[in-house]
Amino acid sequence: MDYTFTGSYEPYISPWDPCPPVKVKTFSLPPQLFMNFQPASLPQFSPAEALQHGSLWPALVDGYSKREGIS
């Protein structure tokens, strides 16, 4: 899959905006939005990995991190 779990947009920027503009704003589009019903037989993590990620299914993990620019 060549999509991320984020969306982004370029907000209107006024020449009179008082703060330095953020030119691209990013927001979360978590995996559950694209999976109205979870398909059967999806690949699974090992129990240890599942515990770390919070889900048995990699397809439900969006790897959120501050580094991705959402805060």
């Binding site: 899959m1 060549d2 999509y3 991320t4 779990f5 984020t6 969306g7 982004s8 947009y9 370029e10 907000p11 209107y12 704003k25 990013t26 927001f27 979360s28 589009l29 978590p30 939005l33 694209f34």
Partner: protein
């Protein structure tokens, strides 16, 4: 800025004095899932959603204010010349002591409106899902008011308002789909 038209969005005909029904309608006037909560919620969230869906929030917030005005007309007319005894009998004794014949933003139980009913999370998906839920809860509230009311004229207006909740719910769900289409592609280096 808004332009005001001095007429109601949809006709409100009040044929009889019925303070008890006014009290029930207050749930949609100043209750948690009411029109005031809806209007304030969308009007405030619109600043921090992606540009493509600002207009949906703006339009629906504006319409909610016109719904609020319809409900205010109903409540005002249903209680206009009611005596204190009639108000007390309808469970509005405490309301009369505090507010006289004035309207107030409170729910059917007399609990005053609070902004803790609404949220602005700053996450577009979280906010739009709250908005969808709010519309469905408002639809249900209208159902229960219609069920308990035997005033055919008021019910006609309430049925119109209930249908608008269906339309708004769909508009918000469409807004979610619009945002899903904005999904970023993975950068390949």
């Amino acid at each position: 800025m808004w332009v005001y038209e001095k007429k109601l969005l949809y006709p409100v005909e009040v044929k009889e004095c019925n303070p008890k029904l006014a009290r029930y309608i207050a749930e949609q006037y100043g209750g948690a899932d009411g029109e005031l909560a809806a209007a304030l919620r969308y009007m405030n969230q619109r600043y921090t959603v992606p540009d493509k869906v600002i207009g949906v929030l703006n339009d629906i917030a504006t319409e909610e204010f016109s719904h609020l005005e319809m409900l205010a007309t109903m409540i005002y007319k249903l209680t206009k010349d009611a005596t204190p005894e009639q108000l007390e009998e309808a469970g509005l004794g405490a309301h009369y002591v505090n507010h006289g014949h004035a309207l107030f933003y409170e729910n059917a139980g007399g609990v005053p409106f609070t902004t803790t009913y609404i949220q602005a999370k700053g996450d577009p998906i979280a906010d739009l899902y709250e908005d969808i839920a709010a519309e469905e809860k408002a639809r249900a509230t209208y159902q229960w008011i219609i069920d308990i009311s035997d005033d055919a004229w008021i019910n006609d207006s309430l049925k119109f308002l209930r249908e608008r909740e269906n339309v708004h719910s769909l508009r918000f769900r469409e807004a979610v789909e619009v945002l899903k289409d904005e999904r970023d592609r993975k950068k390949i280096f």
